[in-house]
Amino acid sequence: MLDKNGIAKRIAQEVQDGYYVNLGIGIPTLVANYVREDIEVEFQSENGVLGMGPFPYEGEEDPDVINAGKQTITTLPGASFFDSATSFSMIRGQHVDLTILGAMEVAENGDIANWKIPGKMVKGMGGAMDLVASAENIIVAMMHTNRAGESKLLPNCSLPLTGVSCVKKIVTNLAVIEVTDQGFKLLERAPGVSVEMIKKATAGHLIVEGDIPEMTL
């Protein structure tokens, strides 16, 4: 079974040379730490930064240089700043190659819910609806089940949707899953996790074909 860093590490393997990547808040943010050093990747932040670098050294924080999580950041050589409309031109115009974000629920058909729990949590969707509606390549990073132990991979989402039929891949603490026309297709097991465990934790239709390899991390 993976921890959050493990999930991030596995997702980092999906990042390819030359990719522009938008990372959501939470586990996705950790992905930046595990991208191979021999490939070139640029991180886009929807508040108007391309070429994000690591957090600043103490004392070097600049209130005018933050990421979408409102954290102080630095930029790398080749970076650029731009306005919000231009930022979403990058996203809506499909210039960003990969979007990695968290989710509360994902449905068999690729629907995603990650912005609202009616009556409980109403913080807003931020840029998530734009990202999932536009990105060609969306990976969801999340725990396989919620705190109550219920599956987050469902036949249908129960929460208000963020986007429809958009998620292509899911990486959880238990598995790597592809979203296909037929449902969730199991691609890899987390270290020490059996197919049976994954089946149990998956409420939606899980397709298991042949031998399911364990992830290499």
Partner: protein, 233 residues
């Protein structure tokens, strides 16, 4: 050169009134019009509709207007850092219209550009789509979204000149740039107000034609919302 310079924040806010619709630049607390917000708190006008990506925090930014119950309605994409906001929303005191961030930015830009409506895929199939016209383009469904209409836009830039030309700094550009010219009156406050001719015409982010009034903010706190650092070793 047409001068947009006014001496004080109070001159800059001439004409603001109850029940108006205002746009506020900034992302989180970064790049917010601190001086204009403080003056609106002073003026105590209420019934405001505020278009702003976020709603500040409890004791800073638009949170200050919320504390005083000056805001009737918020149009935002993310409002998660503000307890008073949540309380007012859940109690029904505050109307809230949550819309996707890219749609928010583009609706500002559309107002600036005289585009009354446009199509975007964001929000299709979600509750955001409720009551909206949808349409297939290239095999993908899109929603029709309208340009915003607002009375005032309050933006904050780094450098400006008397002609109203603006240069922003870093990620503080955000919605500030897109809101210029998107309201009937755009009020820009700047950290540095330069004489005309001091800024390179090739490096202006927002030409002065989009700005009606400009003033130098008396003070900037520039509060950091999430101070994150790494160690030096």
């Amino acid at each position: 050169m047409i001068s947009k310079k006014v001496a004080t924040v109070s001159q800059a806010l001439q004409g603001v009134d109850d029940n108006m619709t205002f746009m506020f630049g900034g992302f989180g607390l970064s790049g917010i019009a601190e001086n204009a917000i403080a003056e609106l708190v002073n003026l105590g006008i209420s019934g405001l509709t505020c278009i702003s990506n976020n709603a500040g925090v409890d004791d800073f930014g638009l949170g200050l207007l919320l504390q005083q119950k000056q805001i009737k309605k918020m149009i935002s994409s993310y409002v998660g850092e503000n307890d008073e906001f949540e309380r007012q929303m859940l109690s029904g005191e505050l109307e809230v219209d949550l819309i996707p961030q890219g749609t928010l930015a583009e609706r500002c830009r559309a107002a600036q550009a005289g585009i009354p409506a446009f199509f975007t895929p964001a929000g299709y199939g979600t509750e955001v789509a409720k009551g909206k016209e949808s349409r297939d383009f290239n095999g993908k469904m899109h929603l029709m979204e309208y340009a915003f209409k607002a009375d005032f836009a309050f933006v904050k830039a780094w450098k400006g000149d008397e002609a109203g030309n603006l240069i922003f700094k870093g990620s503080a550009r955000n919605f500030n740039a897109n809101m210029c010219g998107a309201a009937k009156i755009t009020v820009a406050e700047v950290e540095e107000l330069h004489p005309v001719g001091a800024l390179d015409p090739n490096q202006i982010h927002i030409p002065g034609i989009f700005v009606q009034r400009i003033f130098k903010g008396a003070h900037y706190e520039k509060r950091i919302e999430q101070r994150t650092v790494r160690s030096r070793d």
